[in-house]
Point group: C2
Chain length 384, copies 2
């Protein structure tokens, strides 16, 4: 029987039926009035999700492309930035910057450890000549399933009066975790379609502050496709300089409508409850969370593989018997952890079922757990 | 009444229902076995359309992004290339190359004029020290609705024994006009989803020859997102280095199935008939084609605006009364021409209806034409 699949990787996420249907609309002219109205609607909705009055730019791209865009627009070869490196995706940002000739001061953390405010403070305090032009970090490092304190980092920069721009990879956290672009003074916020927005992958979004526009004016990095100024100029007409991913904009409009109907604070609260329920079920089953305590993400949970259970066996059993697709450990964490995504389109009963499937699969693979343990923990969390 | 729209701009094209439906499939894991099978199928089908055994790489991107990718992968700052500049899109390629510090020798043609083989021969013959690393041109310049002789250009390069790589923008021509990547020795062929492939925009494709891989080895251009080597490496596992535009791959699989069912040579023949029918109708109505005779494109037709008819009035009437969306003149051609796209998902009766709508709109705007003229010309072409 072909049945519903639960795509519980940390993005792309399951796509709600309303959005799936919106994707199969006939194409429209990307230089015509319907398209301009569509972009206008989307930007208005995006500003509510980003909590910003800054410019929002849209790219036909994956999230990684938009991360690159921040580097090539704000900086010049030879300039210095700070990048937190605590997993595959934060390290990617550092590597992109080095590729483009930036001098990268890494704040390297063990995978699983969050960046601490002292780490940021220390490196910025040492920078007496104010040579650091930017600080880059993810809100959510999906490799290890942890969330950094972005508001705290922003406050440290402000307290020190350091002029560095703050660039946040919010790809796997925006429209899931609380985020305040304006009141936290974030200069560039990168996101993508396939996580909190519950859309297929293929579109990246970026919010750009006035301070960032100042840096962009002085940047001497070669660029064309990612050029923020060209995109901003064309977006004044609610168009893009090149052919946009129109279908994803159809979907985005529907997604933003759904988010607005639920209310963004309720979306955040739902993710907090789902994250808590998953963690409670994991702990009740006697398993160990991978991310540092107090920094566990509410969009994805990483769990140490129990002894005597192989990741491949667990993932295969979940996929084939229960239709649940989970994520494995990336790079050096391969085989050591498994990851459950619980972001975007996820509800009480999804979480209940997914954790049940995890429990039954572990049980079948010989892990010592009483059946019903996960369900009880999820139920208790939901009823609290 | 909300009715079917005819999107007759030179891409994005109308999307067939089969493909629209394929786009609304639930998401799958881009690191899982279903995705790998999907990519494998798509690459196999793409090689048949491209007529190549070269590597084909896929990017979540618009066509313009993939044009940029060719520049940043093959060359190094300070190197010299030749670029034909004969419209907005060919000039874009030249401008991107200059942005990245290349020395660009432009072969500039009046908009509406095709590049001649003598133009190419002349510039390459002058290059005694073989400093020219690449020749870039479009198969189809949509600005002016003309088609260059790519096979001829390739032969000139071969005859002269010049080592320059040949880079062809086939965005608005692949899967429409005859194209032979391998037998014409094209080193980089750029295409995108929203033209001959009848898909929504958001995916770019590129075929890369062995000779191109040699250049890539020596290129010193900074790049990350567009890096061909990284994409090739990951595509060995039928995955991409970053999150792919999964939904467009669902669509691409269906599109390739449709192209294969029709047969690629029949697809080419259909475009030739549609192009001929449109031009015959235009001429029968006493209007003037914009592109140089003998080089008119079979994917798009550009027509001089008749005196006393304003483009805006024609486009508005077509859109509102007949549901037909046409394209205008770009940049310096604004208001001077109108353009009718006839590529991708286009059939006999689409062309018949579209040309009828054009005729009726011109008639209503005071242009002197006998009703039925366009229909007669299309019918005669189809019945020949």
């Amino acid at each position: 029987m072909e049945r519903r699949q639960f795509i519980q990787i940390p993005g792309p996420t399951n796509i709600p039926d309303r959005i799936l249907r919106s994707l199969s609309q006939p194409i429209i002219n990307h230089r015509g009035p319907e398209f301009e109205a569509l972009v206008k609607d989307c930007i208005k909705g995006l500003k509510e999700v980003y909590r910003t009055n800054n410019d929002i730019l849209i790219f036909p791209s994956s999230g990684s492309g938009v991360l690159e865009s921040a580097i090539v627009n704000l900086f010049s070869p030879g300039e210095t930035i700070v990048a937190v490196s605590q997993g595959l995706f934060s390290e990617r940002m550092a590597a992109i910057a080095e590729n483009y000739g930036l001098n990268v001061i890494r704040i390297s953390k063990e995978w699983g450890q969050a960046v601490k405010l002292e780490d940021i403070r220390e490196v910025l305090e040492k920078d007496i000549n104010r040579e650091i032009k930017g600080v880059c970090l993810p809100q959510n490092e999906t490799t290890s399933a942890l969330t950094n304190d972005i508001e705290g980092v922003s406050k440290v920069i402000k307290e020190l009066g350091h002029p560095a721009a703050l660039i946040v990879d919010a790809v796997s956290s925006l429209a899931c975790l609380p985020f305040e672009t304006d009141s936290w003074n974030i200069d560039v916020v990168v996101s993508a379609s396939q996580k909190g927005f519950m859309l297929p992958p293929g579109m990246g979004m970026v919010a750009v502050s006035n301070k960032a526009w100042g840096l962009i004016e002085n940047s001497k990095m070669p660029r064309w496709y990612w050029d923020y100024k060209a995109v901003k100029e064309k977006m004044k007409e609610n168009q893009l300089p090149y052919t946009p991913a129109t279908t994803l904009l159809f979907g985005l409009k529907e997604s933003l409508k759904m988010i607005s109907e639920e209310g963004i604070e309720n979306v955040w609260a739902r993710h907090e409850i789902m994250g808590t329920a998953v963690r409670n079920a994991i702990k009740a089953m006697g398993l160990t969370l991978f991310a540092e305590e107090g920094y566990e993400s509410n969009t994805v949970t990483a769990i140490l593989m129990p002894e005597n259970v192989k990741y491949k066996d667990l993932a295969e059993l979940l996929r084939l018997k229960y239709g649940v697709v989970i994520g494995g450990g990336l790079s050096k964490l391969q085989g050591k952890i498994f990851r459950i995504g619980h972001l975007g389109s996820i509800s009480n009963m999804d979480t209940y079922a997914v954790m049940g499937a995890v429990e039954m699969s572990l049980y079948e693979l010989g892990y010592d757990v009483e059946l019903g343990t996960a369900a009880k923990a999820v139920a208790e969390t939901l009823l609290k």
